[in-house]
Structures are given as C-alpha cells and as structure tokens.
C-alpha cells in the first residue's frame, strides 16, 4: 500500500515536471519530491521484499531449506575430505562420510546462510563465464602497479574513494570487497552499511573502479542484476523525457 502511494507521488511529480516547463521554482520542488519519493519507494520496496521473504520461509519451507543446506554442505565437505585424504579404501571413505555428516550437522547454517535463493547452477555457470574477465583485470592491474613502482618518478596519487553500492546481500558485498582487494592497486578499507571505503593507488586505478564495471559483473554473477532498480528506471525516464 505504501508503495502505491509513493508511486502516485512519483507520477504527480512527473506531471508537474512536464507541465511547468518554464517555472524554475516549481520544477525544482517537483524534482525534489521525485527524488524523495524515489528514495522512499526503493526503501519501502526493499523492506517489503524482506518481510515477504521471511514470511515465505515458514514451517515446511524452512525445514526444506535446512535440508538443502545440509545436503549441499555435506557434498562440499566430502569433496574437501577426498582432496585432503586421498585414501580410497572403504574404511577411510566411511570415516569421511561420518565426519562430513558431523560437521554438516554442526554448521549447516553457516556455509549457505543468507545466500539468496538463486539457482545455484546458473550462479556457477556465470562465475566461470566471468572468471576470465576478472583474471585479465588482475593481470592488467599488475602491469600498471609494476609500471608505477618501477618508473623513476613514482607517479602515485593515493586516495580514498567512497561510494555506495547497489548490491544488496552480504555475500555480494564481501565478493565485491574481496575482488577489489585482489586487484593490485586497490584495497577495500571498510564497509559501513553498504558504503565502501576503498584505497586506490592513483587516478587511473580509481577511475577504473568508479566506472562500476566490477560491481555490475558481481551483480550479474550472484544474480542481483535481475532486480529492476527504481533509480535506473528514473534515469531512463528522464532521458526519455528529454528526447520527447
């Protein structure tokens, strides 16, 4: 219901914007209204989605999710056991199965906790598809940092970037932070409620980061981009209005 009111407010604001083309003050007010309502809409939508997700996960679904987590964790752990042990006689494999079940029982809610219910296979496929891009990015950044370090003048220009990410879940924040840190020249200093603090070695590195290409890739891999962001819609509509 709240969303409906806010959407109406946005429509109203658009109307004012279109009509009052020559009155500067009204335009500004309308724009402000638009921004505020857009912000509230995205927040309300996010909260509503969260509430829905929590309501969905009740009773049978909760236990099914726990079972799915248990089985997935078990297979991951058993693969890890085979990797460590490399003994394929019945005795050691049985020990491995018992140990994997024990650990999966102890911490089945840790490994896959809070991961969105995206299709696991799609995520894996997208990860392998995106891996070459990440590797090439790291390779290029390596060359750039080597150039900075070896050139006699050392043209470094250290700076702290601060930006708000549009990613939503913990796991994608961590994935983004670790990819930034893995790329030479940039280090994630801190994340405070979706706001990233990144140390960059020079202007070029900082510029490449601020284009948000890495963020988009991670959103794609972890299936976050399937959301339609209200801000994106507004951006598009503004361009559309200008064209008209």
């Amino acid at each position: 219901m709240e969303v409906t009111i806010l959407v109406q407010a946005i429509d109203k604001a658009f109307e004012i914007l279109e009509k009052a083309t020559n009155e500067e003050k009204a335009r500004n007010e309308a724009r402000e209204l638009l921004y505020t309502s857009a912000k509230f809409t995205s927040e309300t939508k996010f909260l509503a989605e969260k509430r829905e997700a929590r309501a969905l996960l009740s009773g049978a679904q909760q236990s099914r999710l726990a079972l799915r987590n248990f089985v997935l964790t078990f297979f991951f752990l058993f693969a890890f056991w085979i990797l460590l042990s490399a003994r394929f006689d019945a005795f050691h494999l049985t020990l491995g199965i018992i140990c994997s079940i024990l650990v999966a029982y102890l911490s089945h809610d840790l490994l896959f906790f809070n991961i969105r219910l995206g299709d696991f296979r799609i995520e894996a496929r997208r990860f392998f598809a995106a891996a070459p891009w990440f590797l090439s990015q790291i390779f290029r950044a390596n060359l750039h940092v080597a150039y900075l370090a070896l050139s006699p003048k050392m043209p470094v220009d250290p700076q702290i970037l601060r930006f708000r990410t549009k990613l939503e879940s913990d796991i994608s924040w961590v994935a983004l932070a670790n990819s930034i840190t893995l790329t030479p020249g940039t280090i994630t200093v801190d994340i405070r409620e979706g706001e990233f603090f990144v140390h960059a070695l020079d202007r070029k590195v900082a510029y490449e980061l601020s284009t948000g290409e890495m963020e988009d890739k991670i959103a794609h891999v972890l299936m976050e981009a399937d959301h339609v962001y209200i801000q994106d819609v507004l951006d598009v509509s503004r361009i559309f209005g200008a064209l008209k």
């Binding site: 964790t73 991951f76 752990l77 890890f80 056991w81 460590l84 042990s85 003994r87 050691h92 020990l95 140990c99 994997s100 024990l102 650990v103 999966a104 102890l106 911490s107 840790l110 490994l111 906790f113 913990d170 796991i171 924040w173 961590v174 932070a177 670790n178 994630t188 801190d190 994340i191």
Partner: protein, 158 residues
C-alpha cells in the same frame, strides 16, 4: 565480554571458513596414525573453529552453539573415551593402553586392533582438547564473571 564484530567481511568469511576448518580438524584427528597430526593437534584446530565463531559472532550467539555446560560435558566424555579404552585393555589382562589385547573383542588381528585402538584414543583426546580449549577461551572472554559463581561466592556479603 566479546561482542559480535560489525565488520561484514570478517563475519562472512569466518562463516564460510568454519565448516572447512572443522572438517580439517577431524581429518587431522582421523589420520593421526598415518600422517603427522593426531588427537591433540586436531582438537586444538576444532577448538579454534569454535573460538573463531565466538570472536566473530559474539559471546551470546556462540553460547547457542557451544555452551559452558556442553564444553564441560565434552571434556569429560573425551577423558572417558581415553581412559575407557585404556582400562578395557587392563581388564582384558594386559597393560594399560596395550591395544593388542583388543583383538579378542574386535575379532581382528592384533596389528589392526592396535590401529583401531589408537584411533579411538585419538578421538577421545580430540574431543577433550577441543572442549578444554573452548572453555579456557570462554572463561577469559567472560572475564571470569560467570553469574552462577557470583551467587555462590562473595556477592551475597555485599
């Protein structure tokens, strides 16, 4: 009093790592008679995984996973397994912890009985060491202020 860290990277990475640390600990315990490692080392790693959980998720949440009572219980169980196997050998008529004698119960050749016996002892040691490691850290992080102790000692006089 250890509170949960508000650094999301540390929390998430710890959550992903803890199951693998625990499995590695069990691997070290179970392969102690084939490769380096054994009950004590594996137990320490297992205890460290719980300590990592306590450090990253705070005392209150860690209590739901491994409480003081459970730690005491597990340390006793570990000691019971260790000394039980030792005494079983003694009862069967040989020295304390002389696993060769277990072959009469397990119906295997003495060499295999020794292998299984030492595995059992290592499991016992692992459980005991894990529980003791955790309870030492638990006591340090609460600063010795366990509520029940307060009632039994000094507090009433004030």
């Amino acid at each position: 009093m250890t509170r949960a860290t508000d650094d999301i990277i540390i929390r998430t990475v710890a959550r992903i790592l803890i199951p693998f640390i625990q499995l590695y600990a069990l691997y070290v315990i179970m392969h102690g008679h084939h490769s380096p490692g054994g009950g004590f080392q594996g137990g320490v790693i297992l205890g460290a995984s719980f300590i990592l959980y306590l450090l990253t998720h705070g005392l209150e949440e860690a209590k739901t996973r491994m409480s003081e009572v459970k730690a005491t219980l597990f340390s006793s169980i570990g000691l019971l397994i260790f000394s039980g196997i030792g005494l079983l050998c003694l009862i069967l008529g040989s020295n304390y912890l002389d696993y060769g004698e277990l072959s009469t119960i397990l119906k295997v050749i003495p060499a295999q009985a020794r292998s299984l016996g030492i595995l059992g002892v290592e499991i016992g040691v692992g459980i005991g060491v894990m529980a003791v490691m955790f309870s030492i850290f638990f006591d340090i992080s609460t600063g010795g202020s366990i509520p029940n102790d307060g009632e039994n000692l000094g507090e009433r006089d004030e």
